[in-house]
Symmetry: C2
Subunit: 198 residues, 2 copies
């Protein structure tokens, strides 16, 4: 769009490349930023860069964190023999918000998806298997109830059972096709309580 300035065009282009932001939203955001106080724009830019620079994987559960070991994993009051497997850190946050899960997590950072070309080697699965060398009693699979989530759950179940660890799946209280992070806490808890061995 020649009628804007080069700087605004570049900004619109960068913003439109973010997920869920179309061209119109990118325009709106860009013009909003141009009108924001300069300090606010610089702060947002700094926070973005700092987050990208300093956030890393927890060495135990692989969630995103500022520290080597995340607050959940470094909490000795949690049950470290009970591991809930989730697809991403947002799903971890969703269960953590219920305040009722006493165990720890394992974040896969994805789900198996033949369609997207994501195989077992592309998510944190061997890292999960490595954790089972300890005294783990139960692995609760809390991947989404989507096709990919179910596929991943089945794969993990087959992978882990030979090790002799109990494997459960959160109950189908979670609506089929639903994305875990958008589900209310009551449903999340019901799904946790109703988990069955698979």
């Amino acid at each position: 769009m020649e009628m804007y300035s080069g700087h605004i065009n570049k900004l619109i282009e960068e913003l439109a490349a973010l997920p869920g932001i179309g061209n119109k939203s990118a325009q709106r955001l860009a013009f909003h930023m141009i009108h924001m106080p300069k300090e606010k724009v610089n702060r947002l830019a700094k926070v973005m860069m700092e987050a990208r620079e300093n956030v890393r994987y927890c060495q135990e559960c692989y969630t995103l964190t500022d520290r080597d070991i995340c607050p959940v994993c470094s909490n000795q009051k949690r049950n470290h023999n009970l591991i809930m497997v989730v697809e991403n850190s947002r799903d971890l946050a969703a269960y953590e918000k219920t305040g009722k899960f006493e165990g720890v997590y394992h974040v896969l950072h994805g789900a198996i998806s033949p369609m997207l070309g994501i195989g077992p080697g592309d998510i944190k699965l061997k890292e999960l298997v490595a954790r089972l060398e300890g005294d783990v009693e139960e692995v609760i699979i809390a991947t989404n109830s989507s096709l990919e989530g179910e596929t991943t759950a089945m794969y993990i179940s087959k992978l882990i059972k030979p090790v002799g660890v109990k494997v459960t799946r959160i109950a189908s209280g979670v609506p089929v096709g639903g994305d875990l992070e958008y589900i209310d806490e009551v449903t999340l808890l019901r799904a946790l309580e109703g988990r069955v061995e698979i």
Copy 2:
């Protein structure tokens, strides 16, 4: 959300403060940024700061531009005696995209809104009046057809008519309550052609 890192929380907070970005979208964007290559995050941050730093108002029409005088105003082939008044630079871009308007623009950066406490002094109105000291033949008011846009149109009409300049309003081909930037080019052109003196 304690379960995330402080850096991610701060980023989510900053993103959620942007218009049209709710808490869930902010989370999604933040996690996306964490997984982006570092150079890409830094480039987005840099583009944001540079845009805010370098973009200014055109000294003639007050649109946002990288230069002292914007490309439209510095184009001597345009009819500088025909001024289209728009609410913001996105609306200017919408008309400019039709490629059929030969005049120049005046960007108000807002509309009169008693509800939001935006008065005539808060938008670029005296700057518009100042421009009429030249040989301006016609002022086309192309504010939105919202309550605020209509109010602003009436106000400008009353303000300018005593000066002896012809004042027109784009036709009501634009759907009532509609936002100019989302309207298709054909409708925008029909509205321009059907403009009537007010």
